[in-house]
Symmetry: C2
Subunit: 470 residues, 2 copies
């Protein structure tokens, strides 16, 4: 409970104009991009600097008030929805690019910077920040770091974690720490940087980050390969990697997704094929030319009915923009869209897609699948309606089967979306009791009063695991 007295103390820290207490104002922060989760915060607070954050933490730890750090709330795991009231912490005042260091190839930012704004800014200097979550137009870097966001370029370039070199953060005890540095090599103690990345705001409040940049690739080409059968598409993926080519992007869309995307984007995508691979390569001209030709040959050899390299940048951009719009496109089909994030080793992509289709049939639900074929990160997506309780039960059962199958194939329950509230009941399936226990011990060591984003990652109860029947 936040008393008037506490509210006043918080107002005196951040200024009255930076505290939202109204019903309407709090409602906005009672949900995020995840469907089906909503819960009101007691207060929404927008600090202006790290000192204010440390003061807020000091108030909250004495009063045992939950703190939920929130960027743009674009996460898909209910990671920024309150679970037991408390304070939603906004970073709208801490949204500066502090430095672009062209000699050390780093950018230092505050957490509230919009991902794409930062990407554009560094690209002006011929530098490149590869992680490109589909939400990057509105997501914040702070959110990306807390969720360890992935994106379309993960196969070749890795995820957000691979670019975080240093962090400044406020711990739940009010201490300020600085991890890492502008250093490619640093082994001074435990890797706190990587422990905080992806910790979903449950360990600390990240207040500044130094990110690694790389030189921007000289050029890029985009190709679309169409298939009348999923296996041929999966074989193409395997064959490309086995032939020692690592494309920048290697995306997969199944027919239902393709149809939804074309209805939405209207760029003339074929809708009569079973699967599509969207392939990009970037790098020096000669190499891109060579790789694209090799990959086109492989796709044709493995049974693609059509392989087409985009002829202009406009055409290429339309293709990737269409792919990025997959979630929005599918969201138009039904009132509720449940998008998942099951991930398997690349070699198991065909098996996983096949299993997803069988599971959908078994539970009589519609599941469209698209995702990052190159890195095994799939997004099976179910257009449904939360008001249809009976169907929701079947959807729920289907996704439980999908998680179980992903784990059976050596995969994970979430590749890039995070655990949050949504996948917490399944986490033990991946980690085992022993894994959960040690993670809980880490959480306890950082946050003994459990004030940092409580109710996330760790579930009160693990879902019972059923055997996937096929």
């Amino acid at each position: 409970m936040i008393t008037d007295q506490i509210k006043e103390r918080l107002s005196s820290i951040v200024g009255e104009e930076n505290v939202i207490a109204s019903q309407a104002g709090r409602l906005v922060y009672s949900y995020d991009a995840t469907p089906n989760y909503q819960s009101m915060p007691d207060l929404v607070v927008a600090p202006r600097n790290i000192e204010e954050i440390a003061e807020i933490v000091n108030v909250c730890r004495y009063e045992k008030i939950p703190i939920i750090p929130r960027g743009s709330g674009t996460n898909l795991c209910a990671g920024t929805v309150p679970t037991e009231g408390g304070i939603v912490l906004l970073f709208k005042h801490m949204n500066k690019i502090l430095e672009i260091d062209e000699e050390n190839l780093t950018v230092t930012v505050q957490p509230g910077v919009i991902t794409q704004d930062m990407i554009r800014e560094v690209e002006k200097r011929g530098l490149f920040y590869p992680p490109d979550p589909s939400s990057m137009k509105i997501s914040t870097i702070g959110g990306n770091i807390n969720e360890n966001s992935g994106g379309l370029r993960g196969l070749k370039y890795g995820v957000t974690a691979d670019y975080v070199m240093a962090l400044e953060a406020v711990l739940p005890n009010g201490d300020i720490i600085r991890t890492g540095g502008k250093l490619a090599k640093d082994v001074a103690g435990y890797n706190l940087t990587q422990l905080l990345v992806g910790s979903e705001g449950t360990l600390a409040i990240i207040t500044e980050a130094t990110l690694k940049l790389i030189p921007i690739p000289e050029t890029k080409q985009t190709m679309l390969a169409l298939y009348q059968n999923m296996d041929a598409a999966a074989r193409s993926v395997s064959e490309i990697i086995s032939s020692k080519i690592i494309p920048a992007t290697l995306e997969f869309l199944d027919q239902p997704t393709l149809k939804a995307v074309e209805d939405f984007a209207k760029i003339g995508l074929p809708t009569d094929v079973e699967a599509v691979l969207l392939i990009e390569q970037d790098g020096p001209h000669e190499i891109v030319e060579r790789d694209m030709k090799k990959m086109a040959d492989i796709c044709t050899k493995e049974g693609a009915v059509s392989v087409k390299i985009a002829e202009t940048e406009v055409e290429a951009l339309a293709l990737t923009e269409a792919r990025r719009s997959a979630l929005s496109a599918l969201a138009r089909l039904k009132p509720t869209t449940i998008l998942e994030d099951a991930t398997v080793p690349r070699s198991e992509i065909a098996n996983m897609v096949k299993a997803i289709n069988e599971i959908a049939e078994k539970h009589n639900v519609t599941i469209c699948t698209f995702g990052h074929a190159g890195d095994g990160n799939l997004h099976p997506t179910c257009p449904t309606d939360v008001r249809d309780k009976e169907e929701m039960k079947r959807v729920d059962a289907a996704f439980a089967d999908i998680f179980a199958k992903a784990i059976e194939l050596g995969g994970t329950i979430t590749g890039e979306h995070g655990v949050g509230m949504m996948k917490a009941p399944f986490l033990e399936w991946k980690l085992g009791t022993e894994g959960i226990l040690i993670m809980r011990a880490i959480k306890q060591s950082f946050d003994p009063h459990n004030i940092m984003n409580p109710g996330k990652i760790f579930a009160k109860e693990t879902r019972k695991r059923l055997v996937v029947s096929r």
Copy 2:
């Protein structure tokens, strides 16, 4: 204290032939590659599998017996020297390459595999494992992971941590955990993988690892640039990176190191120049040609007195082998060789080298410097004699100044060698009290009885920090 009864229990777990209790046998494991540290273990035990390790841990946690996991003991931070007796754990029976997965580009190994053996094995399949610590001919992968070893290819390819995808480990409570997977993307909970990498055996015993591989670069070229002044060499480094070239290797040797290396390797290295850059680029032919030419031009423009690209593979190999032998070469100069690992942002290399020379002069000690200029990781090395107590005091003071200076320049006390016992008294200089406290809390959450490699990373007392006078 290890009683006869405990010894018998351990013998019954691993077999009598895998327990060393003799004075002579234990003496071998009373030190590692770090000069000036020695302390006897009570017992040396070589388990044959993870189950035996879990049993050993269960014995040790009840009896509060320290466990010191040890690969080949090539570390340079006294990371595998016992501090209060206990058991040195050997991995000589757990030295298999379990799988090379060409579709997912991974290799799965037991910790006792020799780094170079594994590298050769994957290279036979056209695959590449970049981390190449100078000790790789004898170091083990388990040791590399525990220390997060770097190497000459760090600038372009990163360090060991960047290649560890999954771990199997025994926790100090006897639990077995499996982290990560053959997955480019996995955000299921905290990043235990990266928390264990570089934890120097203080959190868990790593029993298996799955490592990321990449396609082997098509070709490689090597170049030597000679300078009559350090600033010109440093400017070349900056200019190369600013011109958006990331070479595979960008090494620096000063004149005293060069002289020692040439005396040792006798390959005709010039010894009358102030500094040398050893530069390598790998990748597709066209790109390597182009980058080498550009880099040669930059070096010349910035004042190199000679720039020479190796004409044959034999010549190139001789150059890199010579660089790799720097420590061995310097070790011939005096009875004791203290090699350090101060690391700074790349842009501060020239300032750091200058400071090292001034500090050496101030304390009247000899310091030769070489290292990875491209990633700011320098190895100031002092040929000395531990028996000369008076000189050792000055050496000690000089290195304290060097650490302080590195931190002042935004660097760290260790880039790739680890903290161990050697740098523990300086760790707080880098992390602050708050950083040390949270790391201690993590350690406590894993290992409440402090049985895992005690006395490492965390010092009883932090060294008093003096202001570097110049």
